[in-house]
Each structure stands twice: as C-alpha cells, then as structure tokens.
C-alpha cells in the first residue's frame, strides 16, 4: 500500500494506492492519523482512485477516521470510488456519514490556489 498525503491550509488530501485489506490498513491508518493529529484538517479527502480492492478493513479505516473528524467537527470526503468499492461502502452505510464525490481533488485543492502546492508532504510505505 502506498499512501500520499497533501496538506493545504485546513484541508488534507490522502491518496491511497494498492489493495486496502487488513494487512495494509494499519499502514494507511498510521499515516492518515499522523496527518490528522498534526493539522486537524476541517476537510479530509480520501481518494480511492488508486485502490484496486477493498474489504471491510477499509470500512474500519474510514469509519475510524470519520469518528476522529466528527469529534472536532471536521468533514470526511470519500473520493473516486470504483463501483465495487462503492458497494462495500454502501453496505456499511458510509453514505450517511461521509460526502461522496467524484473529481480531481488534487486539481481542485491545489491548482485553484494560484497553482501553488503549499506544504506538500509525501509519504510512501510499502508493506
């Protein structure tokens, strides 16, 4: 699993790449929680474009992050789910907790801001 994190003011974008199962979820969780702890973003975007498989471990990850954000009034955005990932999300009722969007979030968050990427952090973790 490869996790890339971008921060821009109070918004945070997490791009996940790979298969999101129990084996990979803890690495993703660690990275996302570090970003949440240090920035307390009011908007957290998790981009699933690069996720080729997800089971209930992914739901556990998303629900856990939702709870943390909800505590301080942040909003969770679930971005670019494939149809199969969307089915798992819907089964878990995630559509009631998070906002689902399909778009190029990186473009929206950063290119609009005078084409400038501020405070970009990239982490890569494999295994």
């Amino acid at each position: 699993m490869n996790v890339v994190i971008y921060n821009n003011n109070n918004r945070c974008l997490v791009e996940l790449h790979g298969e999101l199962d129990h084996h990979n979820a803890s690495c993703a969780r660690m990275n996302i929680d570090m970003a949440i702890d240090s920035k307390c973003p009011s908007e957290l975007y998790i981009d699933f474009s690069g996720v080729t498989f997800m089971d209930s471990s992914g739901i556990g990850l998303v629900m856990g992050r939702y709870r943390i954000l909800h505590e301080y009034g942040g909003t969770l955005y679930i971005v670019n789910c494939s149809p199969s990932i969307r089915r798992v999300m819907q089964l878990a009722g995630m559509n009631k907790l998070a906002v689902f969007i399909d778009e190029d979030v990186r473009g929206r968050l950063f290119t609009d801001m005078k084409g400038e990427i501020k405070d970009e952090k990239i982490r890569q973790d494999i295994k």
Partner: protein, 157 residues
C-alpha cells in the same frame, strides 16, 4: 451426491495465518473463478467474501498465535462456486452475535464488524460452523450468471 454438486474442478490450499496471505487467498480464488469467465462484479464479490473469511481466521481465529488456514474451492456444474475456509483456532462462542452487522469483538482495532454481513450479501449461501477451542469453518456458494465459454468454432463449450 446431488447432481448439482458434481465437481468440475477443485483446489485445496493451506497457508499460515499471516496477513500477507490475505492477498494470496484472493489471487488463488480469482485464478480458479476466472475459468468461468465471470463478470467483473461477480469476481470482485467472491474475492471480497474470501478476503473477509480469511481475515477472520487471522484476526480472530488465531488471535495471538499463528496457525493454519485451509481453503477448498470447487467449480460445480451450472457455474456454481463452492468455497470452504477453515481454521483450527479459538472458535466462536456466539455465532449469532458474531454475524450481527456492526458487531465486533475488537472495536479498538478499527474492525468494522461487517465481515459476515459482506459474505452473506455478496454470496448466495453462507454457513458458519464453529466449536470453541476447536476452530471455525465457513462455507459459501455462489452461482455465476456468467456468459458461457465459447470454443474456437463459436459453439458453447
């Protein structure tokens, strides 16, 4: 044996309950099911159900230890897939509670409690047998609404 249970192909694998093997189990079942030329969503349903069952063995069955997970998968007549995943781990005390959506015995580990719910809704049939201290076995079946394989002469194989 019922006619519908005639076995056309079968695999049996065992592996240690290491989380790395979750993706291995998914690849193995994909390899077998692909022989039936499944729809993408059917294949993804089966992979997800297998992933849930194997993860249960690893996370719950062999909670503080490493043991052996066994997977048997069969292609039956009429495009039916049979999968049995079992462990010789701690077993489940209350199967009904374990199968309740959102119930989890490990909430602090970010487990969603949806493993059995996903298996149940993504497969046609699910049966769970468990004995405390002896282990758990999960049996699932799914009939594919698959298009028939076509041979090189354009006939249905």
């Amino acid at each position: 044996m019922k006619r519908s249970d005639r076995i056309l192909n079968e695999i049996k694998i065992t592996f240690p309950s290491l989380s790395e093997n979750e993706s291995f189990a998914r690849m193995a079942i994909s390899g077998l099911v692909s022989q039936l030329n499944p729809q993408i969503d059917e294949l993804s349903d089966i992979k997800t159900a297998v992933s849930e069952a194997v993860t249960n063995c690893i996370v719950h069955g062999y909670k503080d230890t490493v043991g052996t997970v066994a997977m048997t998968a069969k292609i039956l007549v009429e495009n039916e897939i049979y999968i049995r995943i079992s462990d010789k781990g701690c077993g489940i005390e209350d199967i009904e509670a374990a199968m309740t959506p959102l119930y989890t015995s490990a909430p602090d580990e970010d487990r969603a409690g949806l493993g059995f719910t996903i298996m149940e809704s993504f497969m046609d049939k699910l049966s769970v047998k468990s004995r405390v201290g002896k282990g758990t076995s999960v049996t699932m079946r799914k009939k594919l609404t698959t298009r028939k394989a076509i041979d090189e002469n354009g006939r249905e194989a």
